[in-house]
């Protein structure tokens, strides 16, 4: 069919399959990774057009420099006290994770997922919201709840599926729900919440409300179709929503190259929809706060959606069912150049002269005790395998608002 080129001269094609740079046994080395200097990225007005800030989708917005100083146009938004609260929030997430990981190992529940190394993202983001706003989180945003006043013990009750579980033992551990605290019921199905958040935001706009939504997704899950649905709807209707991608570089055993083909950035996907896209150092609490606040303000002012890619690293296993040493070098998280979010924020406060190592140790211990006490309380309500649980008959409740006849019959037959 081609008028000028014979098929015979063509060379054989071959499939390119992206591979991560390092596998177990390799020595990870990120010295080539382009890490822009803190303070270098400009801070645009919130009503900017996406096309005017394309570069922000390809850089990494950073605030804290190596010396722990906050620099550049994104710095200076939080008071010392607010920053200390942020540090404590992250410590709380870390202590909570450690305890619950252990509880799962001890057989007190079936499953757990930690956010180790990513704590800054959810904790800082939550502080940019107002009461009534709604997060549509994934399973790795416990920091959103843990930096509100949601009772830690209720989170544990849920994890234990015990008699006080607010979700009646119906959900897998960590699949919390709290409308009150702006935390949408977590789904086990990836990405579905990303478009739901957009829909919720559209509803707020239709009703002339002032509330905004925040959708959350992982790097691997951006490949899911509902990521696309969300961008299409958010851009079309300029929904008041912040679209957060947590790029922790891994999706179970699969590195980020499988979701983005080693080219472009996740953030840059927003540009094809005219959605402003910003890439931020996810291990820099101050940068996450500043960028998130920008996007939240933008949404609330009626300028529409923002896509944020939070660049971080998943330090722990994917879940308690996973052992990452099978597919990546153990040393990789240490080698990763953006460091630990808790250490970095601590150093910032110390550099500022408003915090000491001793205060830090004290705070950590206090929080660990808090968490341990909550755990004791929760375990009084039972654990997964030893019970007690909600009554078995409650299994039939709330499938519908009113129980239809066929379910009433089934419950009767079950004799429970």
């Amino acid at each position: 069919m081609s008028p000028d080129k014979p098929a015979s001269g063509d060379k054989a094609l071959s499939l390119y399959v992206p591979e991560p740079e390092f596998r177990p046994g390799d020595t990870p080395d990120f010295s080539d990774a382009p890490i822009p200097k803190a303070g270098a990225a400009p801070r645009p007005e919130i009503d900017v057009e996406a096309s005017d800030i394309r570069d922000l989708a390809y850089t990494i917005i950073r605030v804290m420099n190596r010396d722990g100083k906050a620099v550049g146009p994104w710095a200076g938004l939080l008071s010392d006290d607010q920053i200390k609260v942020g540090l404590e929030d992250m410590l709380r997430v870390r202590a909570f994770d450690a305890r619950m990981l252990m509880a799962q190992r001890q057989g007190k529940t079936s499953f757990y997922m930690q956010a180790l190394g990513e704590e800054a993202i959810a904790c800082a983001f939550q502080k940019t919201l107002q009461p009534g706003d709604m997060n549509f989180p994934t399973y790795r945003q416990q920091g959103l709840l843990l930096s509100t006043d949601y009772p830690v013990v209720d989170m544990m009750n849920q994890i234990y599926s015990n008699a006080a579980d607010p979700l009646m033992g119906r959900q897998l551990p960590i699949m919390y729900s709290s409308k009150e605290n702006g935390f949408f019921t977590i789904s086990g199905n990836l990405a579905t919440q990303f478009i739901q958040g957009v829909g919720w935001a559209m509803a707020s706009a239709i009703k002339g409300d002032t509330k905004i939504a925040a959708s959350w997704i992982g790097d691997g899950s951006t490949a899911e179709s509902d990521f696309h649905s969300a961008l299409v709807f958010a851009s079309t209707y300029r929904a008041p929503v912040v679209l957060n991608i947590v790029n922790n570089q891994w999706a179970i055993s699969t590195f980020q190259g499988i979701a983005r083909g080693k080219a472009a950035t996740f953030a840059s996907r927003g540009l094809g929809f005219g959605i402003p896209a910003l890439r931020v150092d996810g291990n820099d609490y101050l940068a996450v706060y500043a960028v998130s606040k920008w996007a939240v303000d933008r949404a609330r002012a009626g300028h529409g959606p923002t896509l944020i890619e939070h660049v971080t690293y998943r330090v722990g296993g994917h879940s308690t069912s996973d052992d990452p040493s099978a597919y990546r070098p153990k040393e990789e998280s240490d080698a990763w150049p953006l460091g630990d979010p808790v250490e970095r924020l601590k150093n910032h406060l110390i550099a500022k002269g408003v915090w000491t190592q001793a205060q830090h140790v004290q705070a950590r211990e206090r929080i660990e005790i808090e968490i341990a006490e909550a755990q004791k309380l929760a375990e009084k309500n039972g654990t997964l395998h030893d019970g007690p649980h909600s009554t078995p008959a409650s299994m039939f409740d709330d499938v519908y608002k009113e129980m239809p006849l066929h379910l009433r019959r089934q419950r009767q037959e079950a004799g429970i």
């Binding site: 607010p166 979700l167 199905n189 709807f233 608002k401």
Partner: protein
């Protein structure tokens, strides 16, 4: 009171609910300015403005996913999927999300949402404008599935669905939009204006979800049908002279078990009719219900008359479609048996 087509009745249901409750919004492909490819939403954008009735991108998962989000905010979205054949890209949002949000969040979030979709064949629409996917909804716990057969019910059921606090799949037999169709494609179509169930009030009223209607009382055999098949059943009954009791299920989930059981207990015979493919179609569940509750009353094996287990063919529409001849044969067979 006025005579309405099923399209007008459906539109009237949306109009009434939109008037009463500004949480009701309508969107979907081509439903805004144009008013929908079947014109069910015509005039709604003009009346309620583009924030209450608008065109959506062509993305069924997005339509349903956004509606789920809106519903959890507290609105009552009533969205249109252009043809039921195109609901599959949105199936995950139905089966994994809408259906389970109340349960998994222990009532913290709920999804009062309606997904309308034209369904069924008989219009030479070929494989992808003719499907009847109701069984795929009936298998999912946490959603309701409604299939009206006439303008009066369509309006009352749709209002009930929009006002219901759980997600409802609302399947509209497109072959009935303009008149009852009994499968006699060679005859001229009767318009709804000539049918008593075309008599529809402009006012708000509901037909309860989960209640079947007995379209014809009869003593010899029970026909379980819904949508277009109700008229095919009527034609077959008339043509065979068999005294069938015709039950129009209207809601297939929750199913009106009591009405079904009482009727089959009375007649001792049963024929099940639907357009969808046979294997694992909703007729299988109806078989099971009858087996479980009426076994000792049965005088003959129950018969299913359904679409065949093939994709819906274009040229052979009338060989495929379960028409009055096939239903009549089943009636005769079930009467002859035992």
């Amino acid at each position: 009171m006025a005579r309405m087509t099923m399209i007008q009745a459906i539109r009237s249901a949306m109009e009434n609910t939109m008037e009463r409750d500004d949480n009701v919004v309508v969107f979907g492909e081509d439903v805004g300015f144009f008013g929908g490819v079947f014109r069910c939403t015509q005039g709604l954008q003009e009346k309620f403005g583009p924030q209450r009735c608008f065109d959506s991108p062509i993305n069924e998962s997005g339509i349903i996913g956004a509606a789920v989000g809106m519903a959890t905010y507290g609105m009552r979205p009533c969205v249109e999927i252009q043809f039921a054949d195109y609901v599959y890209p949105g199936y995950d949002q139905i089966a994994s999300e809408a259906s389970r949000i109340r349960y998994r969040s222990n009532n913290d979030f709920t999804v009062p949402m309606v997904v309308r979709m034209p369904t069924g064949g008989g219009i030479f629409g070929g494989q992808t404008h003719s499907q009847s996917p109701e069984a795929l909804f009936a298998h999912i716990s946490g959603i309701k599935t409604v299939i009206p057969s006439n303008p009066y019910d369509a309006k009352g059921l749709l209002i009930a669905a929009i006002e219901d606090d759980d997600p409802v799949m609302f399947l509209e037999p497109k072959r009935l939009y303009n008149g009852p169709f009994d499968g006699h494609h060679e005859r001229p179509v009767t318009p709804w204006s000539k049918h008593e169930l075309g008599e529809v009030s402009d006012e708000h009223y509901t037909v309860p979800l989960g209640k079947a209607a007995i379209r014809r009382e009869g003593a010899e055999v029970t026909i379980l049908a819904y949508g277009t098949m109700v008229y095919v059943a009527e034609a077959a009954t008339q043509e065979t002279g068999i005294d069938a009791e015709i039950i129009d299920l209207r809601t297939i989930l929750p199913l009106d078990l009591e009405t079904i059981e009482a009727s089959v207990a009375k007649t001792g015979r049963c024929v099940i009719v639907h357009e969808a493919t046979k294997t694992c179609g909703f007729g299988a569940e109806l078989m099971a219900v009858v087996m479980e509750a009426c076994f000792y009353h049965l005088q003959a094996p129950v018969i299913r008359v359904t679409g065949y287990d093939t994709p819906y063919p274009h040229a052979h529409e009338w060989e495929y479609f379960p028409g009055p001849k096939r239903v009549g044969d089943a009636l005769k067979k079930v009467m002859e048996a035992a």
